[in-house]
Structure formats: C-alpha cells, structure tokens
C-alpha cells in the first residue's frame, strides 16, 4: 500500500460473550483463563444429548435495550446492538462522521426466533408476526445502521463460521480502497437454542464435557454465543479527529477448499494464511502470535497445525498459537470478531490468551498452544484464523499500532 493514511485501523471494540459482557471484562477473563463453558441453564435441556455450551448468563438485556426495541430483534441482533454501542462509545465517533459509514457484519439467522416459531406452530399456536424481521440474516447489520445513522454500504456476509472474519476483512479492504472512511464490522450469534444444538449433535462433533483444543484427549467443539463489534476507519480519518488507534488490520486472505463440505483442508487453510501475510507485506517470521480457529475437534486441530507448519516452517517452533474457543466456545458466525479482539489484546497489551483444558500433548499438534495460563509477550504482528463449513477460509493479520 502506498498511502499510509489509507491503512485500516481499529478505533473501537465491543464484546459480549460467556466470559464477559464488555471488552474489559472479556479481556480480563482471557488473562485469567476463565472458562465460560457450563451446563446449559438458559434453555430447556430435556431434548439435548449434549447439554453444555458457552452461553451468556446474567445479562439483563432490558438494561441495554428498551422493551419496544427488543421485541423486533432476535437475541443475535440484541447482542450486536449491545456490543455495537460499546464499540461506538470507545471510538468517540459522532453522528456527522458516520453518515457515509459502512456496516458489514456476519450474516446470522435468528435461531431463537426460528425455534420459537416452529414450537408455536407445532403446538397449534400462532407464529409471531415479527418473525421475518427477526430472522433475516442482515438484521444485526441493519440494527446497527439504524442505531448509529450509518447510511453507506450495509450488508451481511454469509460464510458460516468464517463470516465475521470475512466481514472484517471486507470492511478493511473497503477502507484501504478508499470506498469508505468508517466501517462498523464484526458479528453476533445467538445459537444456544434447542433446534440448533440438535442439528449440531447430528454432526457428531460436539464435546460432552469441555473444549480442549490441541490436547490429545480433545473431544470436540462446544457451541458458544456472543457478539464482537469493531469500529474500523482509515488511519487518516482517525488521525485528523485525534482518535486513539488500537491496532491496524494489515492483511486479509481468503480461500476456498473446493473439496469436502465439512472436513477441513490444510492446503486451503494454508493458502489463506499465506495470502493474508502477503497482503500485509509481512514475513512469516514477523508473526508473534496466532489465534487459531482451534475448534477442539480431532480433525480441525491437526489439520490447522499441518497448515501452520506449511506456512511458518521452523518459525512455528517459536510461535505461540492458542485457541480462545476453549474459554468462550465456538461462537459460530461471530467467532472471528471475538477472536480478533483477543488477538488485539496480544498486540496492544502484550498478553497471550491461553488454550485452557490442555492435558495431553498430541504429536500431530506439536505447537506451543500457551497451555492453561496466559503469558506476556512482545507481539508486533499477529494472525487470526477462521475456517468454515463449506470449505471457506478467512485469515486476518493485525499489527500493533506504532503510528
């Protein structure tokens, strides 16, 4: 890139997930290795074979969103709004600066609304008339556009568990290209519902006890819920208004496996990582931390490590790679956003989030996964991976902001 003012920088972050209802709480929980996975007590569990999740508990939505606003929003859009308000407050952006701003979020269907609609229908009741606006996949994006008066490009990106990373990458590219100065991006997902969990049970990849990425005794993934929203803007825009820059989104790579619909591909994942490094103009050895996709399934973790080895070679022996899904679960379409915020913590605060639950080394996952305790480190550049069903890979590279 030739014009440093067109770099895409982060100036605001908001988060709500199982381990924290705002960014400071979320990051403190990452530093503490707090695990948000627990027996489900937010929905009826009698129909579930795997009754654990990383659900958000103790969040009083009514404290954040008035009743009449709540009722048109599925829980996913409600979470997006809560995290969006946090991110916007941190950015310090005000209405006139937002008029042409973009909103690019992960697409997510309103699972709670769908579940309720089907339950009502099969019980002989009536389907709620706001079902359609609640379930539409762009609802979280539209909600933030309405809330902040963002009238530029607004859409949702559908790539399953890579959606938020794809959305953030696109937002960054649009800023770098000069299409927009400000973009609100990330994702929200509220999939801890009976219907959705039953669907996942059928895939036989859910753990019944814990999420232990890279550990030889790992037993699968755990579904989480949450929202991560970031305010991105051009470096020039941020500088002119005197904003505090948190980090730079320096590179974005995306590939497709064009292979198995659900089984991961080291080749596809590796090409996405290499593309993100090239886009950032970053040598592999400059990366000081990787926030892995790290689902905790047998296949994902060994495939991801194989891809990391292809890309980083011997540098992988000195490269910390952790999975925050061990704490916040797999937040589906929102995962990439929350995980980028965890990655930013490594850059800005010099703290590597741990992989919790690590018990037994796996020869096929021979990496430093920052086992069981956070660690300090000086990290100038970091990578965040997201790989989705459908063979879709999205990788972000972020840099510490040096001005």
């Amino acid at each position: 890139m030739t014009d440093p003012d067109r770099r895409a920088v982060v100036t605001g972050m908001g988060a709500v997930c199982a381990t924290g209802h705002d960014v400071p709480a979320f990051l403190a929980a990452l530093r503490d290795g707090a695990v948000g996975i627990a027996p489900i007590d937010t929905i009826p569990t009698e129909k579930l074979s795997v009754p654990i999740a990383a659900a958000i508990r103790g969040l009083d939505i009514g404290q954040h969103i008035p009743d009449r606003r709540q009722r048109v929003l599925d829980r996913a859009a409600q979470l997006a709004l809560i995290a969006g308000v946090q991110a916007m407050a941190q950015s310090g952006l005000e209405a006139p600066q937002l008029t042409d701003g973009a909103v690019i979020l992960a697409a997510t269907s309103g699972q709670e609304t769908l579940d309720a609609a089907y339950a009502q229908l099969h019980a002989g009741g009536r389907v709620h008339p706001l079902t359609v606006p609640r379930v539409m996949a762009n609802a979280p994006a539209s909600t933030l556009s309405q809330e902040f008066g963002l009238r530029g490009p607004c859409f949702a990106v559908a790539s399953a568990c890579a959606s938020a990373s794809h959305a953030i990458g696109l937002a960054a590219q649009m800023i770098r290209a000069g299409m927009v100065e400000v973009a609100v991006t990330g994702g929200a997902d509220a999939s801890v519902t009976v219907g959705f969990l039953k669907g996942w049970e059928g895939l036989r990849v859910l753990s019944a006890d814990a999420c232990r990425p890279f550990s030889h005794n790992r037993s699968g993934l755990v579904i989480g819920e949450g929202a991560g929203i970031l305010v991105l803007e051009s470096a020039g825009h941020a500088r002119r208004r005197g904003a505090t820059v948190i980090a730079e989104i320096a590179g974005f790579g995306m590939t497709a496996d064009a292979g198995d619909l659900t089984a991961p591909s080291a080749e596809g994942a590796g090409r996405a990582m290499a593309a993100a490094l090239a886009d950032a103009g970053c040598a592999p050895a400059e990366i000081g931390y990787v926030n892995a996709h790290g689902t905790g399934t047998w296949l994902n973790d060994r495939t991801e490590v194989e891809a990391l080895r292809q890309v980083f070679g011997a540098h992988l022996d000195r490269l910390p790679v952790s999975s925050t899904k061990s704490m916040i679960g797999h937040c589906m379409t929102a995962g990439g956003a929350l995980e980028l915020i965890a990655t930013v913590m490594a850059l800005r605060d010099g703290v590597l989030p741990p992989t919790m639950g690590f018990a037994e080394p796996d020869p096929d996952c021979a990496i430093d996964c920052v086992p069981n305790a956070a660690r300090t480190a000086d990290v100038a550049a970091a990578m965040s991976n997201a790989f989705a069903f459908g063979g879709l890979n999205a990788v972000l590279v972020a840099r510490r902001w040096e001005g």
């Binding site: 009449r68 009722r71 048109v72 009536r126 709620h128 008339p129 706001l130």
Partner: protein, 101 residues
C-alpha cells in the same frame, strides 16, 4: 348496558368497552399517547412505525381471539384513520367471536 360488562374470554360485551380495549392495546404497542388516538386521527400522521402496527394487530387478534382479515385493496395504508382500525376490529369481533352480543 354497563360498559364494563364482559362476555366470554373477558371481552367487553359492548362496542364502547371493546373500543376502549382496542385503543389501550394500540397505545401500549405503538407507544402513541392514548389521548392522540382520536377516531379521525390519521395513522400516517401519528408516525407509527409499520412493525409497531403489525405488533398491535397481533395483540388485538390475541386479545379478542380473532383473525383480522387483511384489507389488501388498501395497499400499504390498510387503515387510514384510527376509526378505520377500530371499526375493522369491531366488525371482525361481531362476525367471529363466540357469543358476541
């Protein structure tokens, strides 16, 4: 008849009582001041968001155990005035509610 006399399901037995319930529901669901819901008041002028009106109709249907037929020929402005809405609900109750007076 006593305005508070009720028929089956707690539905007031007379038009005035039913109208009061209708206006209460519309005011609650749309957030519009009850005093502004005069018969000739135009729905458009009250600036009621479309989904608030959808929610209000849903609550009216639930409260009176009716299904309000869509008046498709009116297009987007199904009800021009508050009175249009009230009369539509009252007619539907008369037609469908069991034991209606």
């Amino acid at each position: 008849m006593d305005a508070h006399a009720t028929g089956p399901g707690g539905v007031p037995a007379d038009a005035a009582g039913r109208t009061a319930v209708i206006l209460d529901i519309v005011a609650k669901e749309t957030g519009v001041d009850r005093a502004l819901l005069q018969p000739e008041a135009r729905i458009e002028a009250l600036e009621i968001p479309s989904l608030d009106m959808v929610q209000a109709i849903f609550e009216l249907e639930t409260r009176f155990d009716i299904q309000l037929p869509v008046i498709a020929e009116h297009g987007a402005a199904e009800f021009e005035t508050v009175s249009d809405l009230v009369q539509h609900v009252l007619r539907t109750i008369e037609r469908t509610a069991p034991g209606a007076a």
